[in-house]
Symmetry: C3
Subunit: 346 residues, 3 copies
């Protein structure tokens, strides 16, 4: 990439201060800025770097007041963070703009394939699969029979989509993630025989799933990730789970079978949730916590394993850290009472 | 699939009440039943749906007593759950009945291949590997040199089997799972140099392993999963571990090196077990617990990190939640004693 | 492999006691020794096996004093453990010595490829990628555009390397691991829109990464694993994290975004670390612990979730286990005080 400061100012509709012909060839953090780089300043903690950065152009908020000389050209915009984010995205779209079906891809004759797709080397598309427009199928991806992949969805290298899985539009699935493996269900009344899993996985529009996740198909019906769900890496979702719209789940989370999670929840890393529960909308769960009962009140914050109200947990945990001191206080009381009893006896 | 109610009654050896010619084309949950669907009722909580379902045929237990009119035809059997399970399985077997070796598969000339196998596109079978009859090797599977895959075993898309791994009969391994990677072992007496891992992984008959698990080979000897072991997704098993017959391990579990687990154990999600331990038969471990000492008594239930007897843990945890109140009681006692001491002083 | 005891003695520069012509064809644990096998004795706990083993040759420490007759030939060396380790490594190097570029591999015409590499079937090397000498690329590996793989590095079957990732020399990456997937970052000030991730992953020399790990690229700049880092399986590393030299991380660990970990740390299984922290050199963290604050003092040992000093944690946990007894003591004190107050009242 190569742009002038002037061109970038036009692109981001910002107000330029400094040399309009400055040439920009890369993006960098303000503390790592080099000549030719464009950076941004949004977090006030990084303000000192503005006066020392070697970047050639820095995006700042419109109303930022300088308190010293700056060597970089400046570009003032409504929101420096959003403007830089837009730049990153444009850069990424150019980089990821793969097209064409490789001769080394295998696409079943019975599959339906949309316009302008990318199908990389050694990718596989099964019988009666349906692939929308502008779908990107990276090398070594597997798409099973009857699967559906919506328009503009990207499947990175090595994603495995079992048969009957349905993915919406504008989704991103990262490498190594598996969708549609069998649920973990055995029948204790029938010698623990495997219960066949003939449901599927449904991923709605605008969902992003990180690397090496595993999302099981339903026994019957569907395991569902609703519109806008965002998953980090290494997350396990069991059969018949449903995750509500715009819920965010950080890495290494686990949800057991048939649990229904609400909308707009935020779960930190390594959070586990047992099966057959309901979790209300806007629930927040702190890292490593375990949910063992349904949460019916929306908007709560939970901590611990098993988890309860996070403020109460933090208070209890302060006492836990001090249990040695607490026991000393009890021992002191016991001594006092013993002395008092003895004195009374005398 | 398309069957009449009469045909299904014959298949499941049940007693039909209603129209024998009813046409069945799909399977559904009773609460999601549609015309043409067959459902079942086993859990009493779902009984109300029997009277409202739109399914065309419902399987019920032989001795179920109706308390109102039902629009669906009914099929009475010994166990509705088992009968439906049988149906699911038959459906699944038809769906998964892949055959034939793709021209786009690579099979080493020195490999031995049984009858009626499936080897999908871009799958790889290494030198001197031995593949039994009816084995299903989905696309993009890797089977290293000298590996052995028993009859009727299924390896879903993208499974990676390192060299020397041995898998028994009737096993199912889900996508993304890795068997035979190097154990995590370094020699602290030799500058933390890697200890070469030249053992293997042995999976006995009737084992199922979920998606994206990682099971390391032994340093010397074998890491072993005994007959009938069932693993959920994202489980890590270190070098030289042994898992006893019919033990069930839910998602995201971790077992460190050289630990030996007994038979018929049940471990919930995210359970961790440290290295060089013994865990007795029939042990149950609750979610997110951590086992730090050997368990010698069979049949115990453990909770916590580090874990101890689950009933004791639950009792202690009730007090933990109330530590603030407990400290208040101590503070009150201290005040009483102070007042008493002062009074006495007077 | 087939060697005489004499040849092995020469190889390991040891002193042989017994038949120099003994033929050795395999390696085994001392307790599982068979005729033709070579074993070793380092751990004193295994000493009794020396007098019963069926192995043909046993490596022992130079100064080991026999207390009974031994049927095996003996090889005395400076360190039995190190000598055996050397043998394992030699055996492994022969086994893993794959060479040649398969006709079924895809290597972009714009990629640069070093001498004596192995590129297995269905492996993919993208545009402008740079592959050093003696690199081993197993089947179904994906190496994205502009990636760099240093000399003597091994990528096992199915590893996925996103574009721009840089890997040093002498690294080992196990199957299923993903390097360079997008960081999990969304902009709350902009409707939670995805923040494009245009940084990369940098793996320095002598790093080993286990199976099915997921290491995200940086938003800007690099996510870095320094020289000599060793990772077990199923580890998640978020965007912009840095792991210091020679740090060891056991299975299923999680590090959130932008955290910087020091050198020579040792983290046990399932350890989680929240984002934007600093962790000092030589820090030890016990299994399942969660680090929620920066650790500034080097060499500490931490336990719990949230974690604090491990000795203090263990002390507090002993009291936690006994909370029922502690509450009984408080109740007894309350009764005493009530009786005392009543007596006083009388």
């Amino acid at each position: 990439m190569q742009f002038t400061a002037q061109q970038i100012a036009g692109l981001l509709q910002g107000q330029l201060e400094g040399n309009a012909d400055t040439v920009i060839t890369k993006l960098a953090k303000i503390e790592e800025g080099e000549p030719g780089a464009i950076s941004f300043l949004a977090n006030p903690l990084y303000t000192p770097y503005l006066y020392t950065t070697k970047a050639s152009l820095v995006i700042i908020n419109k109303d930022f007041v300088l308190t010293g000389p700056v060597s970089a050209a400046l570009l003032r915009v409504e929101s420096a963070e959003n403007a830089f984010s837009t730049l990153l995205e444009m850069y990424n779209q150019v980089k990821l703009n793969k097209k064409g079906i490789s001769k080394l891809a295998f696409i079943s004759e019975s599959a339906t394939v949309g316009k302008d797709i990318y199908a990389g080397e050694f990718s596989f598309v099964g019988d009666n699969a349906w692939i929308g427009d502008n779908v990107k199928i990276y090398p070594q991806v597997y798409i099973g029979d009857n699967a559906v992949i919506g328009d503009n969805t990207t499947l990175f290298a090595g994603v495995k989509i079992y048969s009957e899985t349905t993915i919406g539009k504008n989704c991103i699935i990262h490498s190594g993630t598996v969708l549609g493996s069998d649920g973990f269900r055995f029948n204790p009344e029938n010698d623990n025989k495997k219960v066949a899993q003939i449901g599927n996985v449904v991923i709605e529009d605008d969902v992003e799933i990180g690397a090496n996740c595993a999302i099981d198909r339903a026994t019957l019906g569907s395991t569902i990730l609703r519109k806008g769900v965002k998953f980090d890496n290494l997350i396990h979702i069991a059969h018949n789970v449903e995750i509500g719209e715009n819920t965010y789940y950080a890495a290494a989370g686990v949800v057991a079978g048939s649990t229904k999670i609400g909308k707009n929840c935020m779960f930190s890393g390594q959070v586990g949730i047992v099966g057959h529960l309901q979790v209300a909308d806007n629930t927040i769960i702190t890292a490593q916590s375990g949910i063992s009962k349904s949460i019916t009140k929306p908007g709560g914050v939970y901590m611990g394993s098993p988890a309860f109200d996070a403020n109460k947990y933090r208070k209890a945990y302060i006492h836990f850290r001090n249990l040695d001191g607490i026991v000393d206080r009890i021992t002191a009381l016991e001594k006092q009472n013993k002395v008092a009893a003895e004195n009374k006896g005398t």
